[in-house]
């Protein structure tokens, strides 16, 4: 679940001077210290809370056995594959819907109805139709990625000033050039934002789908850890799920920042 905000969450921190940035680590270290102290004093039974070093050990163990790499590969493969299909078809669909009034008339109502249904809610029906294989997991990622990108593409093209199209028609720009020279450059930044949202949502949905039914993946690793009361494994999974979500969001934000460089600051 990602939230759309005006200011980047870490930009606030990273914009501060270096000593302050290091200072923001202090509360995290404090939390780690409290966690360790609580475990050390034995206030919680070990099956409920394990000390940080045991989580680190579990991490190393999973890393050395190659288990973690396998799970990561499975999850990321589904994510990349699903998002690629979903985002690409979403972009084509969104732009088509914005350019053609006819497509909008025929397809928009269905689009907006299906958009309302949370991706997670479709897990049972997809399992019933496609079984607990790879297909249903990739399809759920496709669904989660399709709609944000389609919506971003649609609103981006709709938001293009009509004068751009007027100029294009005065110059008798062929449709391909219209697409390459006008529509694409003007819509890429909002579409990248859409892809960033899509990645965040897809990741959350995929982890949930893996928790529910999977034979590999980060979600399945956590679920297995839960069933075997390996809280250290579960915690490794939580940290990794967070780290991947953060890395995806951060890298797309960098792309966004690069793409809007040419715009005056006020219009960004």
């Amino acid at each position: 679940m990602t939230i759309e905000t005006k200011t980047a969450s870490w930009a606030r921190i990273s914009g501060l001077p270096a000593w302050h940035r290091i200072g923001s680590l202090a509360p995290l270290l404090l939390l780690l210290l409290v966690w360790w102290a609580v475990c050390y004093r034995g206030w919680f039974p070990p099956e409920l809370l394990v000390p940080p070093q045991q989580v680190a050990d579990a991490f190393r163990e999973l890393l050395d056995s190659g288990e973690l790499a396998d799970h990561l590969r499975a999850s990321l493969h589904r994510l990349v594959f699903g998002v690629a299909i979903g985002a690409l078809s979403g972009l084509v669909f969104g732009v088509a819907m914005a350019l053609s009034r006819r497509i909008e008339i025929y397809a928009a109502p269905l689009f907006h109805v299906v958009r309302q249904v949370p991706s997670i809610a479709l897990i049972p029906v997809l399992i019933l139709i496609f079984g607990i294989g790879e297909t249903f997991k990739i399809l759920i990622v496709v669904k989660a990625a399709f709609f944000p990108v389609a919506l971003a593409g649609y609103t981006a093209v709709q938001g293009l000033p009509k004068s751009y199209f007027d100029v294009a028609s005065i110059y008798r720009l062929p449709p391909l050039a219209l697409f390459g020279k006008i529509i694409l450059p003007a819509t890429i930044p909002p579409v990248v934002t859409g892809i960033r949202i899509a990645l965040g949502r897809s990741w959350g949905t995929l982890v949930a789908a893996e928790l529910l039914a999977a034979e590999s993946g980060i979600g399945q690793m956590m679920e297995l850890g839960r069933q075997m009361f390996r809280i250290d494994v579960v915690m490794v999974g939580v940290v990794i799920a967070g780290a991947i979500g953060f890395a995806l969001d951060r890298s797309l934000k960098l792309v966004e920042a690069r793409l809007v460089r040419w715009q005056p600051i006020g219009q960004r």
Binding site: I3, I13, A26, L28, I105, Y106, I120, R226, F229, A241
Partner: protein, 292 residues
């Protein structure tokens, strides 16, 4: 000289062309559609929008007649209707809808209140911001539903765990929107407040809160959407107690496609209703703003 000889020919050509253009450009004005025509056009467009869903339902219905292998996944419409009647008649549907809404709203209330509290505390106090800001941003990176195994280990398969996850989902949104809303007050307004020697309460009431309202309202709308999303997720993953997604998950295990379809329809419908309520509410709350 050549100009003079050619000019009559050109002008007749031009005249013909320009009358043609004139006729073209005048035409749309001449057949300005009447109100009735606009209404008919809109109705036709509405019906065209129904074409695609109808087609999909038709394909679904056709697939269900292809044999028992298909019929178990693509349940015929009459079976879905019968299932719906049964669920309504037994009062089961209402029970589960109420239970799901209760989970969502309880989580929303707790999460939004906590988020508003932490967000405004972070906005007003540097110390709170310093200590809780980084922790909050680290927690925020974790997909909320990814926390379920951990919460299941700590608190078990209980109603409390469900509400906790939903609260966390809404808490994340509200904290950020409260924080950014209260921080977004324009400096010049704050300075005007200073000039008028506002005290802290006055500054909060007259300057900071009004400028934070749009952000908080948007945050609340997101929070409502997330609370419903998280409710669906926790009910699928905890499968405990009553709830719309709980019976959906059980129906999936029992291979009852009809119940699954009905549940999805109601999940979508309720999400839509909540969203519409929020839009109306935000319009009412924000009606003082002069938007373009």
């Amino acid at each position: 000289m050549s100009d003079a000889t050619q000019s009559p020919m050109i002008s007749t050509q031009h005249l013909a062309k320009s009358t043609q253009y004139l006729a073209q450009s005048v035409q749309p004005i001449a057949i300005q559609p009447t109100a009735f025509q606009i209404l008919r056009q809109r109705l036709a467009n509405r019906l065209r929008g129904l074409l695609l869903p109808a087609l999909l339902i038709g394909i679904w219905q056709y697939l269900s007649t292809l044999g028992p292998n298909y019929a178990y996944a693509f349940i015929p419409l009459q079976d879905i209707a019968r299932g719906l009647r049964e669920l309504i008649a037994s009062g089961e549907l209402l029970l589960h809808i109420v239970a799901s809404l209760k989970t969502a709203l309880t989580g929303l209330a707790i999460g939004a209140a906590a988020g508003l509290f932490l967000g405004s505390a972070m906005a007003f106090s540097r110390v709170v911001d310093f200590f809780f800001g980084p922790l909050y941003h680290v927690l925020r990176q974790i997909p909320t539903l990814g926390l379920i195994p951990l919460i299941a280990l700590w608190f078990g398969n209980t109603e409390f765990s469900k509400i906790l996850v939903v609260s966390l989902a809404t808490f994340e949104v509200m904290t950020l929107s409260a924080y950014e809303g209260l921080r977004s007050a324009e400096v010049k307004y704050v300075e005007v407040g200073r000039v008028l020697t506002f005290n802290r309460v006055q500054l909060l009431r007259r300057v900071l809160l009004p400028s934070a309202v749009p952000s908080i309202t948007t945050g609340l709308m997101h929070a409502v959407a997330f609370s419903w999303l998280a409710t669906v997720g926790v009910e699928l993953l905890f499968t405990v107690g009553p709830g719309l997604s709980v019976i959906m998950e059980r129906a999936q295990i029992a291979l009852r496609m009809d119940t699954v379809i009905i549940c999805i329809a109601f999940i979508g419908l309720l999400g839509l209703v909540m969203n519409q309520c929020c839009v109306l509410l935000s319009r009412r709350v924000l009606r003082w703003r002069n938007t373009r």
